[in-house]
Symmetry: C2
Subunit: 124 residues, 2 copies
DNA sequence: ACCGATAGATGTAGAATGCATCTATCCGGT
DNA sequence: ACCGGATAGATGCATTCTACATCTATCGGT
């Protein structure tokens, strides 16, 4: 099962969805740029394969729409924009991210509490 | 690919590992109880299958160790304790959870900024 | 003509997940 | 004595995801 120490920079769909929706809510963009933005957000290990596939999947669900756009330098890009449905999806996934944040925060607090208690009890 | 609105209470390995390690750092426990604790932490959708499997996997990696313990009421339980190696694993995965928290917080801030700007620009 | 950066897409092995299902034990009620 | 429900743990399997490599193509510079 490999309970390996991942979560070290990988970007599961879990985060990928809200990430992409948020970035697109800030303005239209294309895959390659989104990839770099996602990486700049702190997810170093984001990899293009899943990202491109995910964008197409979101398009199938009409969260985003896209078209080819020739670029002045380099190959054509597929430009994505958020749809109205995508905006709703963003709101929903942001809500669930807030829940995740709550859980995370309380988990980390709980860890700190445990740690401090351990530290102070070994310090008489 | 089903970019479905999950993340609604599901517990990917991502969280499962630190969760279980933390709970076990607070004291020995057994699978069924851990399941309930995890659910009480806010992850309603945690499901037993993965949890039991995960515990055994962690045992194989010597993060935890376990033994059967008869219970005064109900079937015997497999009691788990954290090993020294598990304690190190906890520290590491807590560190990576902190990173995740940072990313989450900044992502949510970014969403709020966008939202507030949108609200104030539509309110002249 | 060739190379590197940019841009997007696909194929695939292996891992993880979700869901149903199975075994077994104890306790209370009838 | 028997049944049902709660407790406890485990497994099987189809579907899905993930990570990684690979492929095509375009443009600018040399």
């Amino acid at each position: 099962m490999s309970t390996n120490g991942d979560s070290n920079g990988t970007l599961p769909r879990h985060y990928l969805k809200p990430c992409l929706l948020l970035l697109l809510a800030e303005g239209p963009s294309h895959g390659y740029e989104l990839l770099e933005q996602v990486r700049r957000m702190g997810i170093k290990g984001a990899e293009p394969g899943g990202l491109y596939r995910y964008l197409r999947a979101m398009e199938k669900e009409e969260m985003v729409s896209s078209w080819w756009e020739p670029s002045q330098a380099g190959p054509a890009r597929r430009t994505y924009v958020l749809t109205e449905h995508g905006r709703k999806g963003l709101n929903e996934s942001v809500q669930s991210l807030r829940d995740v944040r709550e859980i995370l925060v309380s988990l980390l607090d709980r860890y700190d509490t445990l740690h401090n208690r351990a530290a102070s009890s070994s310090r008489p």
